[in-house]
């Protein structure tokens, strides 16, 4: 990370990565969350790392799947119809 390094009680520029995913996923204990928040409040590079990683997840998460290719849709529905109706007869 960029200099100067900011040191908090537990979280610093070097060990932020250890907490990054759990912080973003809301899986950290309250004390460590507070440490992370204090650190990123004082360290711009770490704040941007957290912010851009969060945005990365959001962008992928909200992206809609493209519609199925028509060829696959036709093939899938034909196969399903054949198998499903066969299974019921």
């Amino acid at each position: 990370m960029g200099a100067p390094e900011v040191t908090c009680k537990k979280v610093n520029c070097k060990n932020l990565l250890n907490e990054l995913c759990d912080f973003l996923d809301g899986e950290l204990d309250a004390a460590t969350v507070e440490d992370v928040k204090q650190h990123i409040g004082r360290c711009e590079d770490c704040r941007l790392l957290v912010d851009t990683t969060r945005k990365t997840i959001e962008i992928f998460c909200k992206s809609e799947p493209v519609p199925l290719p028509q060829e696959l849709r036709d093939r899938l529905h034909q196969a399903l119809e054949q198998r499903l109706r066969g299974a019921r007869s």
């Binding site: 941007l48 990365t56 962008i59």
Partner: protein, 218 residues
């Protein structure tokens, strides 16, 4: 029969939320209503295809895995107990189908017990701000292309964990169970996947801005 377990009408089902509606469709499909199952297929086919394609990165394998997942889910529908959403149950089946295809085609690429790498090499020295809504500043078609390419460039071990945790929103424990990994291994791979994808998007939002990440890393 109580009011809670009485089958609802189609009109009532259509007014219900997606999860309630899904439960009604599953109940009807279990009772033998093929149209309800076909509605479930129609509802989830694009998401399941994206899932299998993102895992296999092969169109033919993804098509086969999608088809097999729906057929198996129908075949095993009587075993579905309803203790999770039908979609989550379907995802588990589809992941297994896709992994089988991937292992068959590229057995050396999906070692599940490979060593865990650190992610320090994926953090640049200086990080640039993306602003509040970076995805709205680029064309949607361009964004979709970059997202697909970024996922494709990840190694399977990272790609699959990201897909399950962040796109399908499975828990860490569920992801670990499905892939036969430890929870720390899932967390480590998820961190690395997220940072690699962050780096890919950084290039889009800053038009090839300086990066400390080697091209070969992606």
């Amino acid at each position: 029969m109580s009011t809670t377990d009485r089958p609802r009408s189609a009109a009532a089902a259509s007014r219900a939320g997606p999860v309630d509606d899904e439960a009604s469709l599953v109940a009807a499909a279990k009772a033998g209503d093929l149209r309800s199952f076909e509605e479930l297929v129609h509802r989830y086919e694009a998401r399941i295809y994206r899932l299998t394609y993102n895992i296999t990165q092969n169109r033919e394998d993804a098509q086969d895995a999608t088809q097999d997942a729906f057929l198996k889910s129908y075949q095993h529908l009587p075993d579905f107990q309803g203790d999770s959403r039908f979609y989550t149950w379907l995802v588990r089946i589809a992941v297994n189908e896709a992994l089988m295809k991937l292992r068959r085609r590229r057995p050396q690429e999906i070692s599940l017990d490979e060593s865990i790498q650190t992610a320090d090499d994926l953090v640049p020295r200086e990080i640039e701000d993306w602003g509040p809504k970076p995805d709205q500043r680029v064309e949607q078609s361009e964004l979709q292309t970059v997202l697909a390419r970024s996922i494709a460039q990840l190694e399977p071990a990272y790609r699959i964990v990201f897909q399950l945790r962040d796109i399908e929103e499975l828990s860490t424990e569920e992801t670990a169970r499905l892939l036969g990994l430890s929870v720390p291994a899932v967390k480590s791979r998820l961190l690395r996947a997220r940072l690699k994808l962050r780096q890919s998007l950084d290039r889009l939002f800053h038009g090839g801005a300086r990066s400390d990440l080697q091209e070969s890393e992606l």
